[in-house]
């Protein structure tokens, strides 16, 4: 069916294209700029010649960063905390989320537990009491300080139980009749059916761990224990002087070069999983929404 759209409609569509295009470019432009700086020569960068295309293409900044040292130590800490953190949080979410998905008739204490968890979303002790708890437990400078305090992500727990609640009851009933226990039901029936929400939560939790920096700053005293984002916070955001001195005798790259290269490298894991993130993100929003 082809018909002529009115002038007003066509102007509106044209405006939509223009604004969306401008906003999209504005979103990506600064990132492209940093990418270009990371691949440009020191001279070009210092002269302010670099826009979004590398000038005097050079890999020196990456060579410098790759040479090892603090960046790699921090990168390793982040990889460790992300892997461990995801596994641990998922265990808690699955184990606690399944009973919570039951109705009050099936599990009489369900609403009590639910409020027990939800209350932590309404009120929190704040930064200082949390810090004291972590330090009294002797977790300062330990990897566990980055994992345990947020090991039970209550909001994701709620998303998970909402999803399980929406699964058809028939299969579970049938398993009970066959004499299956709760563990079997969870492992053999619920989990295989929950793959979409599990994938979504794994991605969310992994990104949160990768991007976290504040816990590293307050719970880690020794810089060699910093996760990547905390380490970068000290060199990227805090005054550039530090980066200058740490470059030492390296003369073929500027602090801005190395800073840009490190930003790009830290962003890389996110960019790699981004297609999945995008796919599951919308899904997660729809999956976790409350039905009825």
């Amino acid at each position: 069916m082809h018909y002529k759209e009115s002038l007003g409609s066509r102007i509106y569509v044209a405006i939509a294209y223009i604004i969306v295009t401008i906003f999209s470019i504005a979103c990506i432009y600064p990132i492209l700029h940093v990418l270009a700086v990371s691949f440009s020569s020191k001279v070009a960068v210092n002269a302010g010649l670099v826009n979004i295309i590398p000038v005097d293409f050079s890999l020196d900044a990456y060579e410098f960063v790759m040479r090892g040292g603090a960046f790699f130590t921090a990168f390793a800490v982040s990889v460790k905390r992300t892997l461990l953190g995801v596994v641990i949080s998922m265990v808690f979410v699955i184990l606690a989320g399944y009973p919570l998905s039951k109705t009050k008739r099936q599990f009489s204490a369900r609403n009590f537990y639910m409020w027990f968890f939800v209350f932590t979303m309404l009120f929190s002790g704040g930064m200082i009491p949390s810090y004291i708890v972590v330090s009294k437990l002797g977790l300062i400078d330990s990897l566990w300080a980055l994992i345990l305090p947020a090991a039970v992500p209550v909001y994701y727990l709620i998303l998970f139980q909402n999803f399980v609640k929406s699964l058809p009851d028939g299969l579970i009933e049938a398993a009970y009749i066959d004499g299956a226990g709760e563990g079997t039901v969870l492992g053999k029936i619920i989990l295989p059916l929950s793959k979409p929400i599990l994938a979504t939560l794994v991605l969310f939790i992994a990104v949160n761990h990768w991007n976290a920096w504040f816990d590293g700053m307050i719970y880690m005293n020794r810089p060699e224990n910093y996760p990547l984002q905390t380490y970068l916070q000290t060199i990227v955001v805090q005054v550039n002087l530090k980066a200058v001195t740490s470059l030492g005798d390296v003369t073929n790259i500027s602090p801005q070069n190395s800073k840009s290269a490190q930003i790009i490298l830290a962003m890389l894991p996110i960019v790699i999983v981004y297609p999945f993130l995008q796919k599951y993100f919308t899904k997660g929003i729809v999956l976790g929404s409350v039905k009825g």
């Binding site: 604004i19 009120f123 345990l148 991007n211």
Partner: protein, 297 residues
């Protein structure tokens, strides 16, 4: 007892998570009692004297606290408003783009910053807004505009926070509105076309009514952030000069607590924020339930 026999596996499954939440959420909640003590880390908790509301008095006598409160509300308020309008407009406009590849590319670019940490974003922002060789000032210079100290002057700092917040966070709201828009029945558009409705009329009579519940939901839920002006962003972009317009409650708590070691005073400031926030969180859930039928569980 019979009930427990049947339900014990559920209690067992919940146990690990319950223990973790008690240790890392409920014990710190009890820790807010620090706000009523005079706690010195060196002396230990047992020797801390009970001082009643003294910490709060000290806090309320401190002009920096009210400055931080004012900055928090102003910055958070602007973020709430822009956080609702910008994603809404973007989603409505994206919805008009019928070339599917174009729409996909645009969505990919617009959502990306949301997934990148504030630390990295701050690194980029410091770079592009630099008054000497930043991209933005280089562009302005070519129009003959004098360099602007976006991050270094109190005239511009708040504006820069709100602008860069749109850059980073608008993607999230857009995703939510787009999810709502894809749920709109396409037959409604066809019917509208048959009735002779142009694009604007379709938006007015089909699209907007379809996403009003989502708008109400996002709006009411964001109320819970009235005192969250964004620690991650502000802490990483604030300088000594811009403290006057950027210092927020969270950065103040961090400074007096972690940097100055005044644990009790910082806890009092944190408690003040928690209590006010709780009120707004409960209010926002209530409103979301009433106006949009949203229940958290």
């Amino acid at each position: 007892m019979k009930k427990f026999k049947k339900e014990w596996p559920f209690h067992l499954m919940l146990l690990p998570a319950v223990i973790m939440v008690i240790i890392f959420n409920y014990v710190p909640m009890a820790g807010v009692s620090l706000a009523f003590l005079d706690y010195k880390p060196a002396k230990g908790l047992a020797k801390a004297a009970f001082v009643g509301w003294k910490q709060f008095e000290t806090l309320f006598e401190n002009p920096n606290f009210f400055l931080a409160l004012k900055n928090t509300v102003i910055i958070a308020g602007w973020k709430l408003i822009t956080g609702l309008i910008v994603p809404l407009v973007l989603a409505l406009l994206l919805n008009e783009i019928r070339k599917s590849w174009y729409k996909r590319v645009a969505q990919t670019l617009i959502y990306l910053p949301y997934f990148i940490s504030w630390v990295l974003m701050a690194g980029i922002i410091v770079d592009i807004f630099s008054p000497t060789d930043g991209l933005v000032n280089r562009a302005l210079e070519s129009f003959g505009v004098e360099p602007i100290y976006f991050l270094g002057s109190n005239t511009w700092a708040r504006f820069t926070m709100i602008l860069t917040n749109i850059w980073k966070e608008a993607g999230w709201g857009t995703i939510i509105f787009m999810a709502a828009l894809t749920g709109v029945d396409l037959n409604l558009y066809e019917a509208a076309v048959i009735d002779g409705a142009g694009r604007l009329k379709q938006m007015q009579h089909v699209t907007i009514p379809a996403i009003v519940p989502t708008i109400v939901l996002v709006g009411t839920l964001s109320l819970s952030n009235v005192l969250n002006a964004g620690f991650d962003q502000i802490y990483n972009l604030m300088t000594g000069v811009t403290m006057e317009t950027l210092d927020i409650i969270d950065t103040l708590v961090y400074r007096i607590g972690v940097q100055n070691g005044q644990f009790s005073l910082a806890t009092a400031a944190g408690l003040f924020k928690s209590v006010v926030s709780s009120f707004f969180i409960i209010l926002s859930y209530r409103l979301a339930d009433k106006l949009a039928g949203y229940k958290i569980f």
